[in-house]
Amino acid sequence: MTHRVHVELVDNPIVVPSLIDDANDPDVGAIAWFFGVTRRNTGDRVTDTLFYEAHRPMAKGSLEDLADLAREKFDLRYIVIIHRLGEVPVGQASVLVGCSSPHRRDSFDALAWIMDELKRVVPIWKRECYADGTTEWVHPVES
């Protein structure tokens, strides 16, 4: 029974780890992947590109903590979390999360949980660069 975790911050387009082979484990029945992609339209604003910044060592540690917590909460065999920093143009991936598990429900639930937590606690920030030339840091305030 293998438990592998791959956490990475990258400054270039995310290279997808090989989808079946890397997660290969005869006890795996389910593999699920999530790609977060820069979207052009948010409400009535048009995005040209996003720029991501991080407290890098803290963000890396925080993602590793998330992977460990996910393995405690769900029956997982393999976890990948890769976040891209710097400029991420429309249509490109800023984040990739992958899980494998004996049963599909664990991978589905873990993907959703990891993304929710990532957006809540990991010290990474995005700056919107709108088509009209303005830019804006996104600092969501809980209402």
Binding site: G36, H55, H83, S94, V95, K119, H139
Partner: protein, 81 residues
């Protein structure tokens, strides 16, 4: 004592530097540091109440002591993903 606070995102842009040096008492808490940071500018006064302080790369509660900290960082509301 004098303390360097790492700044990120909108806070860094407002202050115009990756860090800011502030003076706090030796027995200052994370909450004291946040209060001090909120006095740096009108923008910081608005932003800091929504920020967390990280001591040695871990989020700190307001009552946490900053004594012995190797690194203190102001963490504005995050927006990764």
């Amino acid at each position: 004592m004098s303390l360097n606070i790492l700044l990120f995102a909108a806070a860094r842009d407002d202050i115009g530097s990756d860090y800011v040096e502030i003076d706090v008492p030796d027995d200052a808490t994370a909450g004291d540091v946040l209060n001090k940071l909120s006095e740096l500018s009108p923008f910081m006064a608005e932003l800091v109440p929504y920020c967390r302080l990280a001591i040695d790369e871990r989020y700190a509660v307001a009552s946490a002591s900053i004594q012995g900290a190797r690194e203190v960082a102001l963490i504005p509301p995050v927006s990764g993903g």
